[in-house]
């Protein structure tokens, strides 16, 4: 620690500089702050981090509190996974896009599912009729999953199932595992992640037929328990801070909601009788990279330190891997503009740079057309190339945590940590995140933040190039848009054929087993894997679960 007299001297010299030198010049604004409202001063010095103890508060990469990175070598020894999101139309079409991205150097698959699949509806459901194949790939049965991964070496490529909501995840993940078993691939060879986040279902990406928070939460923990037992290298959950942020959260809320969600899962797994180190190493996170560059970097660093301390102090975790906040990043979709869409290439590049300077394990760069449509092959390729340029050309990978020790970044990391801890304490006081969702508190926090964000754009306080400044009147769109391939009829035809050919008695037995599991409050994963293997459809599984749990109307407005 730096000597007290020195800090006193430094403070008085800084004050003198502010009045005599800095104060004589005019600045653009009276005050500056981060996107979430943390005040930013003109200059940071050792005085701002005088209480910092290097060994206690920063330490070394690969060691507690992991603020400088979860791996000792970071990108010097291991590149972040270039995991570009893809999914649209029928599985036959998305399979081609997966192969294209892998051929072009993507190092992992990031597969998103269409709106009905995420919520457990089949493509022939009348409620789903306008959304089949939109926003992701349509999956109804294990046969679709076979087609989706046909020719892709899933024993060596890591696959992220962007299955979002527990209600859909439980079927989609079961189909993925059943397909692997069918291909003769041992479960311990499978690497990847399921999104599986009850907050998405109940507060963030709400659509019709939401399960009640407790039921949705139970399903998410069922997947954690199943993977711990049978699929040891699979991350059974990815706390989707990215989506919380897209819905309107601030940076501190994003991390606080992720961590309190993890806390709830850990408490439930401990209640089910497991040792924290048996499952915690596989809990993973998913964060946004938004516009405010340094705030984002501070956010990732603060998240690592907070998580490490909570895991040690609150849960007594001992395995170092239990203490690590490992995360995937997607560049902020909400920051993209439909106006002058090519500008989004520069936006997403800065976002990705923040993710990498913040120590991400895996990154998706948004395509420039995402404010308008599903990415085309060209826009997806440009996004992948953005990652490759960042990795190979910029040199930012040459040292670990290059911004560590910056007076400003460390100050901001501390300020971010303080705000995150305040929100975590508030949620703890409410009895945890499930209760906070049930009473509508999470919804109201997010919608208030979303409203304030929009107000900041409207007042001009937050400039958005092409939207509230540097607009082009009557702009002619400079890009070609993606058009979705015909999906619904193709899916309905497959469903019709499967329903004719499968064994009705096996289907009945499988659905009975699911029903009994719900009634007896047992883990639903095992019976689901068997059900999908018998060609039970996702919609049939969901209806059986909803018959038992009912549906919930989230208090949104």
């Amino acid at each position: 620690m730096i000597r007290n007299e020195y800090i006193t001297e430094l403070k008085s010299r800084t004050d003198a500089w502010r009045t005599e030198c800095h104060g004589r010049k005019k600045e653009f604004k009276e005050s500056f702050q981060t996107l979430s409202g943390i005040p930013i001063g003109p200059l940071y010095t050792p005085a701002h981090i005088a209480d910092m103890d290097y060994l206690r508060d920063l330490g070394f990469p690969g060691e507690e509190p992991y603020i400088r990175g979860v791996h000792p070598t970071m990108y010097r020894g291991r590149t972040w996974t270039h995991r570009q999101l893809a999914g649209f139309g029928p599985p036959e079409e998305t399979n081609k896009r997966y192969k294209f991205l892998l051929e072009q150097g993507a190092t992992g698959i990031n597969g998103v599912y269409d709106y009905p699949s995420l919520r457990g509806y089949d493509s022939d459901d009348p409620e789903a009729r306008a959304d089949v194949g939109r926003g992701g790939v349509a999956i109804d049965t294990v046969q679709d999953m076979q087609i989706l991964f046909d020719g892709i070496p899933i024993d060596s490529v890591s696959v992220s199932l962007v299955s979002c909501q527990p209600v859909g995840n439980i079927s989609l993940q079961s189909m993925y595992f059943a397909n692997a078993r069918d291909r003769g691939i041992a479960f311990d060879k499978l690497t990847g992640t399921s999104q599986n986040d009850f907050l998405l279902e109940t507060a963030i990406t709400i659509a019709p037929g939401v399960l009640p928070p407790k039921a949705s939460f139970k399903l998410s923990v069922d997947a954690i328990e199943y993977c711990m037992k049978y699929v040891p290298r699979w991350n059974p959950i990815s706390y989707a801070g990215y989506n919380y942020r897209e819905a309107g959260c601030t940076a501190p809320q994003e991390v606080a909601f992720c961590i309190t969600n993890a806390i709830a899962c850990i408490e439930e797994m401990i209640r089910r009788g497991y040792d924290v180190d048996g499952f915690a190493p596989r809990l993973s996170f998913f964060n946004s990279a938004h516009n405010d560059f340094f705030e984002e970097i501070a956010k990732y660093r603060a998240a690592r330190r907070i998580y490490c301390r909570i895991m040690k102090e609150r849960f007594g975790a001992k395995d170092p891997r239990s203490l690590m906040y490992r995360f995937h990043v997607q560049t902020a979709g909400v920051a993209l503009t439909a106006q002058q869409p090519l500008n989004n290439i520069s936006r997403a590049s800065y976002h990705a740079l923040a993710a990498v300077l913040g120590g991400a394990q895996s990154v998706h760069v948004d395509a420039y057309d995402e404010a308008l449509c599903t990415p085309t092959e060209l826009s997806s390729l440009t996004a992948l190339r953005t990652q490759q340029i960042l990795q190979l050309e910029t040199g930012v990978t040459k040292t670990v945590d290059p911004l560590g020790g910056s007076y400003f970044v460390e100050y901001l990391t501390n300020a971010m940590e303080e705000r995150i801890l305040e929100i975590i304490a508030t949620i703890d006081d409410m009895g945890g995140i499930v209760k906070a969702v049930e009473r509508g508190w999470v919804h109201s926090e997010i919608s208030t933040a979303a409203f304030e964000y929009q107000a900041a754009i409207e007042s001009g306080m937050m400039p958005v190039v092409g939207v509230n400044c540097y607009q082009i009147e009557d702009e002619k769109l400079p890009i070609e848009l993606f058009s979705s391939p015909e999906t619904r009829e193709r899916q309905i035809e497959k469903l019709r054929k499967i329903k004719k050919e499968r064994s009705d008695s096996k289907v009945r037995k499988a659905l009975d087993a699911i029903r009994r599991c719900c009634e007896e409050d047992r883990n639903l994963m095992e019976v689901n894997v068997e059900a999908v293997a018998a060609y039970v459809t996702e919609g049939e599984i969901t209806k059986t679960m909803k018959n038992h749990y009912g549906v919930w109307h989230p208090p949104l407005f």
């Binding site: 009729r129 306008a130 959304d131 019709p208 439909a338 106006q339 407005f557």
Partner: protein
């Protein structure tokens, strides 16, 4: 005091993005509109609720790409029930080419990505709803 105008705001089909619809709902409520927030609904239900609640305006929201199927259906269902005095507007992610198509189908106004709340409020004020 004159009667406040009533508006039903609903997200079409399975669209998951509530942010825009809620932010617009709050802004219009603050501007003096009475808002009924319908959540996710299919056209038949939207029209049922609109009639039950005796609304003056229906605001549809979607970012999922289902707008060309479901938004015109809302208009058709209103017309088939003989209702011509409910104004239907749309907000969300819409490729520019779809805007004239939605208007042809009877959607009075389309608010695309990046539209300011001020512009939306001004629209309803100019049209005499606020």
């Amino acid at each position: 005091m004159t009667k406040r105008n009533r508006m039903l705001i609903s997200r079409l089909g399975m669209d998951a993005h509530w942010r825009g619809s809620i932010v617009v709902a709050k802004a219009l409520r603050d501007a003096g509109m009475e808002i009924i927030y319908g959540g996710n609904q299919m056209p038949e239900k939207i029209v049922d609720v609109a009639i039950q609640e005796d609304v003056d305006i229906i605001g549809l929201s979607s970012l999922s790409g289902n707008h060309m199927i479901l938004a015109p259906e809302v208009i058709e269902r209103l017309r088939s029930r003989g209702i011509n005095d409910i104004r239907v507007v749309f907000g969300g992610t819409v490729p520019p080419d779809d805007v004239p198509r939605l208007k042809e189908a009877g959607i009075a106004e389309v608010f695309g990505p990046g539209t300011s709340l001020k512009k939306i409020v001004r629209y309803f004020r100019d049209q005499g709803y606020l």
